[in-house]
C-alpha cells in the first residue's frame, strides 16, 4: 500500500512541470485513489499485446501539445450557450455515425466542429468501403442529422487503410 502511494506521488511529481502538483512533503495521503491519475493511460497488460488508436495513444496531459480536441465549439466559453445540449448532441452524433457507418470509422475517433449554424463531422473510413456506398451513407447521415439537429450538417471523410487507425502497440508486461 505504502509503495503504491509513493509510486503515484512520484508519478505526479514527474508529470507536473512546475511543481504545482503534489510535493514530497505532502506525500502522506489517506485517499490514494484520488491522487491516482490513471484515466486515459494505458498500462501494459499481462500476456497480451494492446493496440491503441491515435486517440488512446496520447495521454491526457499531452493533449494540447501533441493532439487537438475532438470537439470544437464555443459553448463552454464565458457567455456560451447550451453547453449541456451540445455535449449530449455530440454524444448522440458520435453514436449515430458509428452505427450508420457499420462501425467502419477507423480509429473510432470522430471530430465534431461547430461553426455558426453548421456542424462539420470529420472522421476516417477504411478503403474497403466502396465509394458509392460511402456517398450513399454520407447523404443519409447528413440528412438524418440535419433533420434531428435542425441545422446543416456536413461530413468530411478521408479514406485510409484499416491499420492506419492504430498508432501504438503496447507490449505485454515484461516484454519491453
Amino acid at each position: 500500500m505504502a509503495l503504491n502511494v509513493t509510486k503515484s506521488v512520484w508519478k505526479n511529481v514527474l508529470l507536473s512541470r512546475h511543481g504545482c502538483a503534489l510535493t514530497l512533503e505532502r506525500s502522506i495521503s489517506t485517499t490514494p485513489a484520488c491522487n491516482k491519475i490513471s484515466t486515459g493511460r494505458y498500462k501494459p497488460l499481462e500476456g497480451r499485446y494492446q493496440v491503441l488508436t491515435y486517440d488512446q495513444a496520447i495521454k491526457p496531459h499531452e493533449l494540447v501539445h501533441m493532439k487537438s480536441w475532438n470537439t470544437w465549439n464555443t459553448s463552454t466559453l464565458k457567455g456560451g450557450r447550451r453547453s449541456q445540449l451540445t455535449t449530449i448532441e455530440d454524444m448522440f452524433i458520435r453514436r449515430f455515425i458509428h452505427g450508420a457507418w457499420f462501425c467502419n470509422t477507423v480509429g473510432e475517433q470522430i471530430i465534431i466542429k461547430r461553426q455558426h449554424n453548421i456542424i462539420r463531422i470529420a472522421f476516417c473510413v477504411p478503403k474497403t468501403v466502396s465509394p458509392q456506398n460511402c456517398y450513399f451513407i454520407t447523404g443519409f447521415c447528413e440528412e438524418m442529422l440535419s433533420i434531428w439537429l435542425h441545422c446543416p450538417v456536413k461530413l468530411e471523410i478521408q479514406t485510409t487503410e484499416p491499420h492506419e487507425g492504430y498508432a501504438k502497440v503496447i507490449n505485454p508486461q515484461g516484454l519491453n
Binding site: 465509394p131 447521415c141 435542425h150 471523410i157
Partner: protein, 694 residues
C-alpha cells in the same frame, strides 16, 4: 517621433500654400449619394462566389477531396452524385414514415423543411393546408388533401380550386422533381424533355371535376386545361376544347396561343400551309389585342425551324426582327432553334456559319442568364452547328463561352456530355496534335470523359508527331475509361510498337513502362473475361502479336510466356516477324534462355504452321547462345547446323539470371501435351462375388 512631427508639418505647410485651390475644388465637387441597393442575405455569398472561377482540371466540390472518393469518369460522377442523393431521399423517407421520432423543435424560428409534414386526415385538412401544398408544388399531397376535404364536405374557395386545377394541368398530375434536388435535376432521366408526338396526358378524373365546377369562371379554367393538354401531347382533346372555347367566345390568354403554336409542330401539312397557320394564330392574337411574349417568339421560331423550305432563314430573321420591334428580344433558346433550323438534313445551309459567328461574337465574355426553358438547349445546338460546319475556331469560341462564369449551369448532365463530345469530335477532325493535347489536358478526366474514337485519333497523332513521352499517359487514361473499342485498341498497340521501335534515346525509358502496361492489359483481358460472358475485351491475332513485341521490348518475360500460352489457347498464330523481334529483344536484354524457350515453345505448340528455321539458323550463327543451348535447339529442330556450331561458342555467356532457369523448367511443363485421364481399372464383378461367397 520627431521625424513624424516634421513630416506632418511639411505636409501642412505644403497644403497651406494653395488655399485658393481648396476653395475652387470644393465648389466643383458634386457629391452624388448613390441610391440604396436592396441586398438579400445571400448577396455576399454570391459576390464571393464570383471571385472563384471554374476549374475544369479538378473534381467538383460536391465530392470528397480524397483520391479514393473522387470520380475519374463521367459515369462515376453521375453514380456518386445520385448515390448521395439516394441517401438523402432515404433519410427523408424515414422521416415521413415515422414522424413521431422527429417531434423535437430545437430551431428558433422553426425550420419547416427539416420537420415532417403534418399528417393528412379528416382532422387536419383545411383550405390553408391545400393552398400551402399547391404553393410547395406537392401534387400528390394536394390531390389527397382536396379529396379528404371533399369526403368531409369542407368547402373550398373557387380561387384555390383554380390554383389546384392549374397545378394539375401544368404538372400533368405528377410530382415534379423538387428544386433543391439538384442531383436528380442534373443527372436524372426525367430531365429529358418529353416527346411532343406522344400523348402522355394523364386525364385524372379530378381535373375534369374541377373544370366542370369552375366553368362559370370563364377564361381561366379553359386556358389552364388547354395548355396542359397541348403540353402533354393530347392534341385531339386540346383541339376539341379550343374549338369549344372559341365557340363560346371565351377570351384566351397568351399561354394558350403559345401552346397552340407549339402544337403545330405535330401537324403534317405542306410548309406553306403550316406557315399560314402560324400567321393565322398571330393575326388572331393581334385581333384579340394580346401582346406576345418571349414564349411566343420561341414557339414560333421552334415551329418554323422544324419546317423544311428553302427560304427558312430569311423568314426566321424577319420574324425575329418583327418581334424585336415589339420589344421582345430573342433569348438564347431562340438562337438555339435558329441554329437547329440551319443544320439541314444532309448539309448545312450557307447561313449557319455566319450566324454562329455573329451570335458567339456578340456573346463573348458574357455571363448568360436563362430567361426561358428553351435556353437550356443553347450550348448543345451551338456546338452541333460547329460540328456540322467543322470549324475549330467557332467550337473553341463556344467552349470558352461555356467555361466562362456560371454559363455551364445552363445545360444539364446529358447536354453537357453531348456538348463536350461534339467539341472533341471537331477537335479530332480539325485540330493538330498541339490543340488536342491542350484541350485534352484541360478537360479530361474531370470535366469530360473522352470517347474511344477521339483516343484513336489522339494515338494516331502521337504516332505522327512522335510524342514518345506522352503516349503511356494516354494509354493509361484510355484503359481507365473502360470503353474497349477494337479499332482504338488496335491503333494503340500499333502506335506503341512504332514508337518503341524509334531510334530515340527517350525510347529506352518508356519501353519498360509500355511493357508493364501491355502486361497489365493482357492480364486484365484474361481476368476480365473469366466472370463475364457478354462483355469482351477485343483482342485479335494482330493485336496479340503487337503485345508480344511490346512485352519483349519491355523485358516482361513472365507476361510474354502468358501471352504465348494465351495465343495457343485461343488458336491464334504468332507471326515469324514477331518471333524474330522477340529473339532480337532477348539479344538486347541478354536473355538467351528466353529466346530458346520461345523457339522451343512455338515449335512444340504451333508446329508446322510457323517457319522458324530461318530464325533458328540466324541464331545458331551468332554468338548469343552457348553450346548447350545450341545443342538443345538442334535436337528440337532436328536439323544440321554444323557450320555454325563450331564458331566461337566458348565465348558465349552461360551465366544468367535465376528467373530464366525457372522459365526453362516451366517450358518443359508447357511442352508436354495434356495428360490423358488415368485409366480406372474396371472392377471384376465375378471375382468380387466369388470373394464375398467365400
Amino acid at each position: 517621433m520627431s521625424f513624424l512631427s516634421t513630416a506632418t508639418k511639411t505636409y501642412r505647410a505644403s497644403n497651406f500654400h494653395f488655399p485658393h485651390q481648396w476653395r475652387t475644388m470644393t465648389s466643383q465637387v458634386d457629391i452624388n449619394i448613390p441610391s440604396r441597393i436592396p441586398r438579400g442575405p445571400t448577396d455576399i455569398l454570391k459576390a464571393l462566389e464570383k471571385t472563384v472561377s471554374y476549374d475544369p482540371t479538378g473534381p467538383s466540390y460536391r465530392y470528397f477531396d480524397d483520391p479514393h472518393l473522387v470520380p475519374y469518369q463521367e459515369r462515376q460522377a453521375r453514380m456518386f452524385t445520385l448515390a448521395k442523393n439516394a441517401g438523402r431521399k432515404a433519410a427523408r423517407w424515414v422521416r415521413d414514415e415515422h414522424p413521431e421520432l422527429f417531434t423535437q423543435v430545437i430551431s428558433d424560428p422553426p425550420v419547416m423543411s427539416y420537420m415532417p409534414s403534418a399528417p393528412i386526415n379528416a382532422e387536419t385538412v383545411n383550405e390553408n393546408m391545400l393552398y400551402q401544398k399547391i404553393c410547395d408544388t406537392k401534387v400528390t399531397d394536394a390531390i389527397k388533401v382536396y379529396e379528404t376535404m371533399q369526403e368531409n364536405n369542407l368547402a373550398v374557395a373557387d380561387d384555390i380550386k383554380l390554383a389546384l386545377l392549374e397545378l394539375l394541368c401544368f404538372y400533368n398530375c405528377e410530382d415534379p422533381i423538387p428544386m433543391e434536388n439538384e442531383a436528380d435535376r442534373f443527372f436524372g432521366q426525367r430531365a429529358v424533355r418529353k416527346d411532343l408526338y406522344i400523348n402522355s396526358w394523364k386525364n385524372h378524373p379530378l381535373v375534369q371535376t374541377l373544370f366542370n365546377d369552375l366553368q362559370h369562371l370563364g377564361s381561366a379554367p379553359y386556358c389552364a386545361l388547354i395548355c396542359g393538354m397541348f403540353n402533354a401531347g393530347a392534341k385531339a382533346e386540346g383541339d376539341r376544347l379550343l374549338a369549344e372555347a372559341k365557340e363560346k367566345k371565351i377570351k384566351l390568354d397568351v399561354n394558350v396561343y403559345n401552346s397552340t403554336i407549339t402544337r403545330l409542330i405535330s401537324v403534317y401539312e405542306k410548309p406553306e400551309i403550316k406557315l399560314e397557320m402560324i400567321y393565322e394564330i398571330l393575326r388572331e392574337m393581334n385581333a384579340a389585342a394580346i401582346k406576345p411574349n418571349l414564349s411566343t417568339l420561341n414557339a414560333v421560331i421552334d415551329t418554323i425551324s422544324r419546317i423544311l423550305f428553302p427560304e427558312k432563314f430569311s423568314v426566321i430573321i424577319k420574324t425575329v426582327a418583327e418581334f424585336e420591334r415589339l420589344g421582345i428580344k430573342p433569348s438564347l433558346g431562340t438562337y438555339a432553334y435558329i441554329a437547329r433550323g440551319c443544320l439541314g438534313r444532309t448539309k448545312p445551309t450557307a447561313n449557319l456559319k455566319p450566324f454562329l459567328t455573329t451570335v458567339l461574337n456578340s456573346l463573348r465574355g458574357q455571363s448568360l442568364e436563362p430567361q426561358h426553358a428553351a435556353d437550356a438547349a443553347f450550348f448543345d445546338w451551338m456546338m452541333k452547328g460547329c460540328v456540322v460546319c467543322e470549324s475549330l475556331p467557332l467550337a473553341t469560341e463556344c467552349l470558352q463561352l461555356f467555361l466562362h462564369a456560371r454559363n455551364r449551369k445552363l445545360s444539364d448532365g446529358y447536354k453537357t456530355s453531348t456538348f463536350f463530345n461534339n467539341f472533341f469530335h471537331v477537335l479530332s477532325l480539325q485540330g493538330d496534335y498541339k490543340d488536342m493535347v491542350k484541350y485534352y489536358r484541360l478537360l479530361v478526366p474531370h470535366a469530360h470523359t473522352v470517347n474511344a474514337m477521339f483516343y484513336k485519333v489522339l494515338f494516331e497523332a502521337c504516332d505522327a508527331n512522335a510524342a514518345i513521352s506522352d503516349f503511356p499517359g494516354y494509354w493509361r487514361d484510355y484503359m481507365g475509361t473502360g470503353a474497349f473499342h477494337e479499332e482504338t485498341i488496335s491503333t494503340m498497340l500499333e502506335v506503341a510498337v512504332n514508337l518503341t521501335g524509334l531510334p530515340d534515346p527517350e525510347v529506352q525509358k518508356i519501353r519498360p513502362v509500355i511493357g508493364s502496361l501491355a502486361s497489365n492489359f493482357i492480364l486484365f483481358k484474361i481476368e476480365y473475361e473469366k466472370d463475364r460472358v457478354f462483355e469482351r475485351v477485343p483482342l485479335s491475332s494482330d493485336m496479340c502479336n503487337n503485345i508480344l513485341i511490346l512485352l519483349a521490348r519491355g523485358h516482361q518475360w513472365r507476361s510474354l510466356q502468358t501471352g504465348l500460352k494465351f495465343m495457343s489457347d485461343k488458336v491464334m498464330l504468332p507471326q515469324e516477324n514477331t518471333i524474330t523481334q522477340i529473339v532480337d529483344s532477348c539479344n538486347d536484354h541478354n536473355n538467351p534462355n528466353m529466346a530458346v524457350w520461345v523457339l522451343k515453345y512455338c515449335h512444340s505448340t504451333f508446329e508446322n504452321k510457323l517457319q522458324l528455321k530461318p530464325v533458328v539458323a540466324t541464331l545458331m550463327k551468332s554468338d548469343f547462345l552457348n553450346d548447350d543451348m545450341k545443342k538443345d535447339l538442334k535436337e528440337t529442330f532436328n536439323d544440321d547446323y554444323s557450320s555454325s556450331s563450331s564458331s566461337g561458342s566458348s565465348e558465349s555467356d552461360s551465366s544468367d539470371s535465376s528467373d530464366s532457369d525457372s522459365d526453362s523448367s516451366d517450358s518443359e511443363e508447357i511442352a508436354v501435351p495434356r495428360k490423358k485421364k488415368p485409366e480406372v481399372p474396371k472392377p471384376d464383378i465375378v471375382q468380387i462375388i466369388k470373394d464375398k461367397a467365400i
